[in-house]
């Protein structure tokens, strides 16, 4: 097997530079690459374009990069719950491109799957379709959407092996698999890194071919945005 193990997050992020385009997995704060984000903050790379479904909260996730004004442009489907984001966006410091969530997911998969463009009905007749080719198939209208081209993808998995294979847990999967497919260099941080052969080959969510660098992350906070519970009786 091809060994993808990197010693630590510092090595894993070697080559990140100002002005690059990154994909970052996660939905809300669920399944985000916490270690990689912390290292991006430490490195202070700036003028970044970040493709991520959400933009974190003020003091966690991508909010940490926003706070240091490292992000030039966000490409997301939903960016609520973030005051600093709002301030930067309204002041024009931050460029924001909003994309329907399914289109975002499919543009990531397309990037990884060598499909330069595809038709989707999402956004037809709305400002999302402005300037884009539209076409009718079987009486319904569709919009032509294109694959992304990120320099790096940062993803977070539950378990991974030395060959780069990844397994996710719960809804922490979300955008991570297709972003892993899309990255020119994909950096995967995992909660538990195991030797090749320990994971069931039938149950791999992301085959190691898509992962260039893997490391075991630490100190996962896994913050919950909306703790909703029922009383135990």
């Amino acid at each position: 097997m091809i060994n993808k193990v990197i010693n630590n997050v510092q090595e894993a992020l070697e080559g990140v530079e100002d002005g690059m385009t990154f994909m970052l997995g996660g939905f809300g704060l669920c399944g985000i690459p916490e270690n990689s984000i912390a290292e991006l903050v430490r490195r202070k790379v700036k003028n970044l374009t970040c493709i991520s479904n959400n933009a974190g909260v003020d003091d966690f996730g991508l909010g940490l990069l926003l706070h240091q004004r490292q992000i030039k442009k966000m490409i997301s489907s939903y960016v609520g719950e973030n005051d600093e984001f709002e301030r930067q966006m309204l002041s024009g410091e931050l460029e924001v491109e909003l994309i329907p969530q399914g289109t975002l997911a499919e543009r990531c998969r397309a990037a990884g799957a060598g499909i330069p463009a595809f038709f989707t009905p999402a956004g037809y007749g709305t400002e999302v379709a402005e300037g884009k080719e539209t076409r009718e198939f079987d009486g319904k209208m569709y919009v032509l959407e294109k694959a992304f081209k990120p320099d790096f993808a940062f993803v977070k998995a539950w378990k991974g092996d030395t060959a780069g294979n990844l397994i996710f847990k719960g809804t922490a999967r979300n955008f991570n698999p297709m972003m892993a497919m899309a990255g020119k260099i994909t950096v995967a941080e995992v909660e538990e890194l195991v030797p090749a052969g320990e994971l069931d080959p039938n149950q791999i969510h992301v085959p190691g071919i898509f992962v260039q660098r893997i490391f075991e992350g630490k100190d996962y906070e896994k913050r919950i945005e909306q703790r909703t519970v029922r009383p135990k009786n």
Binding site: C30, G102, T120, G125, N174, T228, V229
Partner: protein, 219 residues
């Protein structure tokens, strides 16, 4: 008396069909899950990657790795499945989800819906709404009939940026159940004690009233 949010959710629950997969938006739609008719098999999809979503977890059993599209901690029912976002929207775009219930700021009589953007205000994004409305075979809009300023949200034409065109089939508000038909909004039911005149006054779009309009039955 006009319905409250729970009343709207209860009325929408009557629209569920056995064997349907349903995506519930944030807000009133989420409440619909609490009123599924006894014995009916319905599965709830959450676009961040769940089929077979269950109720909120018991206090202390919440899992940061298991949330719904509203970022709330949830549970799974037996037979649930988890998947990535591309698969989730494959289900939605591919019309495997039979019903989408979501809120709106405006609905027009041609079925257009606006629910994601108010020019000049902070825009949070459309999330999965554009994919949902562009693909769902059945869309029910759950909302108040009028906005906070008392202006109708049921319009001849949407004034806000659209989320989807010609897609809304049915609307359940605090005042009425409406169907979107070629001629306009067809009044199907009135909220208990609400008159046709009150509904007419709260509706800017073309309201079609044919014969006696029954009251909703909500328990």
């Amino acid at each position: 008396m006009a319905l409250d949010k729970i009343g709207i959710a209860k009325r929408i629950a009557q629209e569920l069909h056995d064997g349907w997969y349903v995506n519930l938006g944030i807000g009133i739609p989420t409440l619909v899950a609490n009123y599924v008719p006894e014995g009916m098999q319905v599965e709830f999809q959450s676009e961040n990657g769940i089929l077979g979503m269950g109720p909120f977890p018991f206090d202390g059993e919440e899992d940061a790795d298991l949330i719904n599209a509203g970022k709330q901690t949830v549970t799974l029912l037996d037979g649930a499945s988890l998947f990535d976002s591309a698969m989730s929207f494959a289900m939605i775009r591919g019309q495997h989800v039979q019903l989408t219930v979501l809120g709106a700021m405006e609905v027009a009589e041609n079925g257009d819906i606006a629910n994601w953007k108010i020019p000049g205000k902070m825009v949070k994004g459309m999330g999965g709404a554009m994919d949902l409305v562009a693909s769902a075979e059945n869309i029910i809009v759950a909302m108040m009939h009028t906005n906070k300023r008392g202006e109708s949200k049921i319009l001849k034409k949407c004034s806000l940026p659209l989320t989807g065109v010609g897609c809304v089939k049915k609307i359940v508000t605090n005042l009425a159940v409406l169907e979107v038909v070629p001629e306009g909004f067809k009044l199907i039911e009135r909220a208990p004690g609400v008159s046709v005149e009150e509904i007419q006054n709260a509706t800017e779009g073309t309201l079609i009233v044919e014969g006696e309009i029954p009251e909703m039955k909500i328990d």
